[in-house]
Subunit: 209 residues, 2 copies
């Protein structure tokens, strides 16, 4: 068996990948949103996202404004936080947070009979700065964000709702799309911490690398 | 619009998810390997993995032996490392490492005109203990592992080869499957740091949670 490698310089692999993605897209996509859609496909090799990613009206401008304004990005997993380009975020005064492993969050979950994901969102809501939520794992986190918005206790600049899975994942995304909040959602079961991070990075890279 | 949530206690969501995955599998799968295949589908909501995951002969026993023997897991991204259950790994004396961000790795890449992924694998090869590689991102890392094995410089206990992407990803996986080494590979373009971590965790959980 002869396996042939494509000769592409390391620095050009990403550009070449985006070129291939552009050629293989199942249908034309919105040009302004293309960097986000393509980066998610780049991260997953899954063209389903060309159809499942949903964007609220004017979300791009609002998201970029939030980042420029030094918004904090709150994730529901350390994995998503780990995938976000913190250096690019810091350029705008932003920081990434994940409270899921905090002892006070575990304690609050135990005392209230809720989940750590819910309590991590409660803790995030107390941050006194513009907030972007990037939820790639826990539908309970996304549902709790929806509830806090509904109760008037939370006003995020952007909710990235891309949890993955089989139980209440689809529903959690439908909920957040009914809240009056800027959103980027991967409709259906698919998503993940990698997808959440990819969307954050796509936004950051739109403001320069 | 009425969105109905499924009533499942937080502790039962994973079991319920695995049940759904079992019901929706496109075809029967090997019972012994099912915990790995199902966990990858759980992590991605992508049933393609029921067809693309490839296992070398007897890999399961070899992988579990390696973990019981205190093998180190080396990843190519901090994201994959972040997703591995380090507590479960530590029970067996194992540790997870990711060298991609190390200053000496960056320096070596610069001096040698290679990539940080390649140099991170070189650094890992110097660890004096049983090694498991979990590659979810960089095909160059996987190709370099193949080369070090071919040169007789590396003898890993297991290679998890699941990089994702469009340039040399497919080829890197075909290469590693020709090396005489225990492997778990996601054939094709799909994979990811989340998939790499899910496979590690599936193995760890087979030894108890």
């Amino acid at each position: 068996m002869k396996i042939e490698l494509e000769r592409v310089a390391p620095m050009e692999i990403e550009a070449r990948s985006f070129e291939i993605i552009g050629q293989e897209l199942p249908h034309p996509i919105d040009e302004k949103l293309a960097p986000i859609i393509k980066r998610v496909i780049h991260t997953t090799a899954d063209f389903d996202y060309a159809d499942t990613l949903c964007f609220s009206e004017g979300v791009l401008e609002k998201a970029l404004d939030a980042i420029r304004g030094g918004a904090a990005i709150v994730t529901d997993t350390t994995m998503a936080m780990s995938g976000i380009n913190k250096k690019a975020l810091a350029k705008h005064g932003g920081e990434a947070f994940c409270f899921i492993g905090d002892p006070d969050v575990a304690e609050a979950a135990k005392n209230s009979g809720t989940t750590r994901a819910v309590q991590a969102m409660e803790k995030a809501a107390k941050l006194d700065r513009p907030l972007i939520f990037a939820i790639g794992n826990a539908p309970t986190a996304l549902i709790h964000i929806y509830e806090m918005i509904s109760e008037g206790r939370l006003d995020p600049k952007l909710v990235i709702g891309v949890p993955v899975g089989f139980v209440n994942v689809v529903q959690s995304k439908e909920f957040i799309m009914t809240a009056d909040v800027p959103y980027i959602v991967a409709r259906g079961r698919k998503g993940g911490s990698n997808v959440a991070a990819a969307i954050c990075n796509a936004l950051l890279y739109m403001l320069g690398r």
